[in-house]
Structure formats: C-alpha cells, structure tokens
C-alpha cells in the first residue's frame, strides 16, 4: 500500500510537528499556547489511528513514488506513543517561555524522533536522525550563555562524527544488500567477510554513540545540563531512546549478542559511579540517563522476547519519569538560579509541590513498587535471570540500588532538605507544575495498572511483576540502601568539583596533543618547509623578476627615451627657422612650393 504525503486524510506525524512548528511564530497569546499543545496531541492521535492498520507502506508525493518506506508495527507504535506524549508534556512545560526559536527546535526534534520511529528504510532514517542532531543542538545554544555555546559545539562535533559513521555504515550495508530496507541486521556476522562485518560494526557504533554507551557517551552529561531549562526536558527523551529503538529493531536477536549485554550492564554501573561524584543537579540526573539506558542496551543484547519487551517498556517508563525528574531540577534552576547541590538545601519549605512531584519521579526510577520503573525495569532483570546470566543480574541489581541512592535520596536530600543554604525559591509557573503533575500521574498509572503498558509491548509475553518474593526483595533492597545512605551521609556531601570523563579526549587531550607536536612541527616548518619554499618559490620568482627588470630598463625604457631625444633634436632644428622676419617666412614658403612642384613633375 502507498501513503500520499500531501493528503487530507493522513499526515506523517513527524512531518506534522516539523512543518507545524513554523506556524507558532505567526500566532499570539492563547492561539499560540493552544497550537503548542494541539500539534503534538494531533501527532499522538495520528499514531493511535495508525495502530488500526499496522503495515509497511510505500510513500508517494503528489502521485510520484518516493524511495521511502513507512512502517507501522507494535514496536514503532509503542515508541511513537511515548514520543508524542513526551512532546505534549514538554510543550506544556514550556508554555511560559517567550522564545519561538526554542519551541520550533523542540517540535522539530520531536518530529525527527517520530520520523526515525516510523522509518522503514535507511534513507529516511538517516535524514530524521540528522535532523534530530541539528534541532537539538539549538536547544543548548538557545540558553545563550558562553558555556552553553561551547557545550553545543562539542555536542554537534560528536553527533556530526556519529552521523558520518552511520552514513558510512548505511552506504556499505545497502550496497552489499542492494536495498535500502531497514530490517534486523542480525547477530555479529559469522562469515569472515569484511563487506558484511564492517557495516554491522559501523552502524552499531553510530547507534551506540547516540545511546550514550561509554566510551562514546560523554557528550550526554556534558551537553544536557547546559541546555535551557525546558530544552533539557526534551533532550532527555528523544536522542537516547530513538537510538534504543534502532538497537532493538536492528540488533536484538534471539540468541543474544554478548558484547552488547556486557556493554549495557557496565553502562548501568558507570552512570551510577559518576553520579556519586557529581555536584551539578542536572548532570547527576544525566548520568542516571546513561545508567538507565544501560538496562535497555543490556536487554537488546540478551535479545529474548522478554528482554525486548523489557527494553521497550523501560524506554516508555523511563522517558516519562526522567522528564519529570528533569522538570523538577529545572524548576529549581529556574526559580533559584542554582544548579550545584552544595549551594542548595532547605528548599522544601518554599517548593513542597515541586518536591512531591519530583519524589514520584524518583520512586519511579528507583523501581519502588506501585511506580512505573518497578514494572518495566524488573522485566529486564528477569530476562537476565531467565537467560541464566547471574553476573548481569547482580550488576543490574547493584545499579538499581545506586539509582535509588542518588536520584531518590542524595539529590532530594541536598536539594530540598540538608543544610539550609538560605536559598528561597517559590513554586514554578503553573504550566510547569501541570506538566509535572501529568508526568507523575503517568508514572503512578503505569505502576498500578501495568497492563496499560504491557498491552502495547511488541512481543507476546506473560509476565507478572507483583509476585510476593519480588515485592519483598525490592522493598528490602530499597530500605537497606536508604539505611546505607544515612549511615554514610557524611561521605556523600557534594563537593564543588568536576569529574573527568571521556570528553577529556576532545576537550583537553586534543590541546595536549597539539602542544606535544608543536615542537617538532615548528622545527619542521622553519627548517625543512622554509628551505624548500626558499628553493622552490622564492629563488625562481626573484630570478624572473630580476630578468624582467633588466628587460624593462634595457629595452623598453631605452626605446622610449630614444624617441624623446629624437623629438628634442628635431625641435631644436625647427627652433632656428623661427626668426620673426616675414621675408624669411615668404622665402621658406616659396621654397616649399618649388619642392612640391618638383615632386609633382617627377611623379608625372
């Protein structure tokens, strides 16, 4: 079947946001606010309607067939739902912002994510992938702060590099396969053929870069805390989770891929370790995105039906609670201007609603029973158990304790309680609270009625999170993590420090490399290059110039001066004939006439 791009019955939900965003600058007041919320809501409605006819569609523009494929299946649908819901929540959260550029970038970014989700071919996948990178960097730059501009450039540098790697992988893959179709790339190629292995590795590396898998993930905690208060909320959702979607689609295979399993589990712990050291509230939360995406990456590696369902469910739940957490930290940043934990404290007195809503997000990410993380994260841990991977099981459980430790205890303790810093905020604007409230409601709804989410999952699996053993073990783990927190509270005091991560290589390492090579380079330049220049350029050029000058003085000048001298001599002769006597002139005229007559006679 073919879908027409320009038609009244249907619209690509991604294009709706990307094109519709440009209407916002033309509107004012209530109409603008309404459009901001209605656009993503309409995209959500289209996604829901698409679920009635899941299929792989061709795409045409005004009757001409385009080389794109639009794929609607359960996997693309669940991601499209959460991306559109997130766009609605994000736009409500930014209703008070009087900066059209931010709204346009945010909607374009969300549209790009929807485009990736429905892309059935590598061409449109790549286009939407790059569009996401370009629109999201604006959300960093639009904070209009020198630090944000610099961070934005680093973000762009990394993503342009990732985009090129992806493009290289796609070109190699498609030329080997002879089609642009985006289907599963399978497990690591068994045959020893580089034309198959290389594209597999390149595409995996590019997608892992966007999923922030270490060591390719340092761009995330570097960039997200520098984004605008509202922009960061969008950023938490789309880039990493659309990468998770592509990972599931391309790399989740029944037998599993060992490399991805271990990278994911290591990633879950890596995020937690860096969160201990972190002092910037939003950067701490950014490290926990890495940790949580680690669960999803690990699940992709395991590749069983339960694992794929777990990755999808966790991505869904994660987008909502992470957005809620970033909204909370953003609200504090907005009203107090504070971003460092060692400068906060005591805000619970003036921002109790923000605190309460934040805590719902914190309970959800910590997988407290009756909150969304409990029903999604446990699927992945259970998938590791079912696969008899005890070390992965233990690593993921450890990271889970770390998540509660930081997001559920450390951050709220130092932000809202702790030593009173004297900072006095107030509750943020009402639209921000409404967005947080809706996100919080979703976290609780999914936690209490997991069936709502489970019905949408891509694979058919019978899984029940609320078993007695699971609930008591989780409560025990959370409770005693809290005990450990209070026992070691002194150790956890945030320090005004920053931590080295792999972004060191392009922030500091590059300048170190430059200073190391500068010595030999200078010697090379003044020695060899200088000599060669002298020999090859300067000498011949000067020689030719000297020759030309000699030519100029010898011939051209001589000719000109000779003509001048001749004229001078002739005029001196002429001068003697000018005597002033009429008889002389008459004589000369007569002589002239005689000469003419003589000439005429000779001629005749």
């Amino acid at each position: 079947m073919t879908l027409e791009l320009v038609s009244l019955e249907w619209m690509h939900p991604g294009l709706l946001l990307i094109l519709g965003a440009w209407v916002l600058p033309l509107l004012k007041g209530r109409a603008k606010s309404a459009a901001m919320v209605l656009l993503p809501a309409a995209a959500l409605a289209i996604c829901v309607r698409l679920s009635l006819a899941p299929d792989t569609y061709g795409v045409s523009l005004l009757g001409h067939k385009l080389p794109f494929v639009f794929r609607v299946d359960k996997l693309s649908l669940i991601f499209s739902y959460v991306f559109s819901i997130m766009a609605v929540l994000g736009m409500i959260y930014s209703l008070h912002v009087k900066d059209d550029a931010q709204h346009v970038s945010a909607l374009t970014y969300a549209g790009g994510a929807l485009g990736v989700t429905f892309a059935g071919d590598f061409l449109s996948l790549y286009v939407f992938w790059e569009l996401m990178a370009m629109s999201s960097v604006l959300l960093i730059w639009l904070r209009r702060d020198p630090a944000a501009v610099a961070a934005g450039f680093r973000y762009l540098l990394v993503h342009v590099f990732g985009g090129l790697v992806l493009l290289a992988g796609i070109v190699l893959h498609c030329s080997a396969k002879g089609s642009f179709e985006f289907e599963s790339l399978g497990a690591f190629p068994a045959e020893d053929d580089w034309s198959v292995i290389l594209p597999w590795c390149l595409i995996l590396a590019a997608v892992m870069l966007n999923a922030a898998v270490p060591p390719l993930g340092a761009w995330l905690p570097d960039a997200y805390p520098e984004a605008t208060v509202t922009g960061a909320v969008f950023m938490t959702a789309f880039t990493t989770k659309s990468a998770v979607y592509v990972l599931i689609r391309g790399f989740a295979v029944p037998g599993g891929t060992e490399l991805i399993v271990w990278l994911g589990a290591a990633m879950a712990i890596y995020g937690v370790v860096f969160a201990v050291l972190e002092n910037d509230a939003r950067r701490l939360l950014a490290y926990h995105i890495i940790s949580q995406v680690g669960y999803m990456v690990c699940a992709v590696g395991i590749g069983s039906d339960l694992a794929v369902n777990g990755a999808s469910a966790h991505a869904f739940a994660h987008i909502l609670y992470k957005a809620l957490l970033f909204m909370g930290a953003g609200a504090v940043l907005q009203v107090t201007g504070l971003r460092k934990l060692n400068e906060m404290g005591g805000l619970y007195k003036t921002m109790p609603i923000t605190l309460g809503l934040y805590m719902i997000g914190a309970f959800a990410i910590s997988a407290v029973p009756l909150f969304s993380g409990f029903v999604s994260k446990s699927m992945i841990v259970a998938a590791a158990g079912e696969d008899k991977r005890q070390w992965i099981f233990l690593m993921l459980t450890l990271a889970s304790a770390g998540t509660f430790l930081h997001t559920g205890l450390k951050l709220p303790y130092y932000m809202f309680f702790g030593k009173d810093s004297g900072a006095r905020g107030h509750e943020p604007p009402r639209n921000m609270l409404v967005a947080m409230g809706l996100a919080a409601a979703a976290c609780v709804l999914i936690g209490v009625f997991p069936g709502v989410l489970y019905d949408q999952l891509p694979r058919a699996v019978d899984y029940h999170p609320y078993s007695v053993g699971h609930v008591t073990a989780s409560l025990g783990m959370l409770g005693f993590t809290a005990l450990g927190f209070f026992l070691l509270l002194k150790q956890l005091d945030p320090e005004p420090k920053i931590s080295l991560d792999t972004d060191w290589f392009y922030r500091k390492g590059s300048s170190a490399v430059v200073s190391v090579i500068r010595g030999p380079l200078v010697r090379l330049e003044s020695g060899w290059v200088g000599e060669i220049y002298e020999l090859v350029i300067r000498w011949p050029v000067l020689g030719v110039a000297r020759l030309l000058r000699r030519l100029d003085t010898g011939i051209v000048d001589y000719a000109v001066m000779s003509v001048g001298r001749l004229t001078q001599a002739f005029s001196r002769i002429l001068k003697t004939t000018v005597s002033g006597n009429v008889q002389h002139y008459g004589l000369l005229m007569a002589a002239g006439v005689l000469v003419l007559l003589a000439l005429a006679t000779i001629a005749l």
Binding site: V272, V273, F274, V276, L277, Y348, K349, P352, I353, A382, G385, E386, K388, Q390, F393, L394, T397, L398, A401, G402, L405, F417, S467, V468, G469, H470, T472, A473, S474, L475, G476, M477, L478, G479, F480, T481, A482, L483, G484, F485, L488, Q491, L492, E495, P496, K497, I498, S499, L500, D501, R507, K508
Partner: protein, 86 residues
C-alpha cells in the same frame, strides 16, 4: 503546606520518624525471610533464596558504590571546577 516543616524542625518528631524507619526496615527484613517460607516464589538463581538476600545485597551495593566511587574520584577522576577553562 507547613506539614513538612512541623515534622522536620522538631527533634522529638524527627526521632519518632527515625524510629518508624528502623521498625519499617525490620519488618521488611523479617518479611523477606519469612514470606518465602509460606509463599513459594520462583527463583532464577539459588542465591536469591538466601535469607533476606535483597536487603543484604541492597546494603552491600550501597556501601560498595559509595566507597568505590569516592575512591576513584579522589585518586583519579575529580578535578577543580575550572579544569577545562584553563
């Protein structure tokens, strides 16, 4: 909205909250040991069946994460805030 302030600025009430916290922990630990004897759950691994495994593993994880991360930070990772500016 003065509820939280009333609770947290009165030492007597803070002590009471602490007491309830410890009672809660004890109840959870006892439940974790006791309930599997009544309701048999399905474990993936034998260690999940150890008494109060979740609680003990939670405490151990928490301590391990704090100690190891802080150690890594002190000897290697942590730098002054203007590290990248200079």
């Amino acid at each position: 909205m003065k509820f939280l302030e009333r609770q947290l600025e009165d030492p007597v009430r803070v002590a009471r909250i602490k007491r309830w916290f410890y009672i809660g922990l004890a109840v959870v630990a006892v439940a974790e040991i006791g309930l599997p004897l009544i309701v048999h759950g399905d474990h993936h691994f034998s260690f999940e069946g150890w008494p109060a495994f979740g609680s003990l593993y939670g405490l151990a994880s928490c301590v391990a994460i704090i100690v190891v991360s802080k150690l890594l930070g002190k000897v290697w990772l942590m730098r002054r805030e203007d590290y990248y500016d200079s």
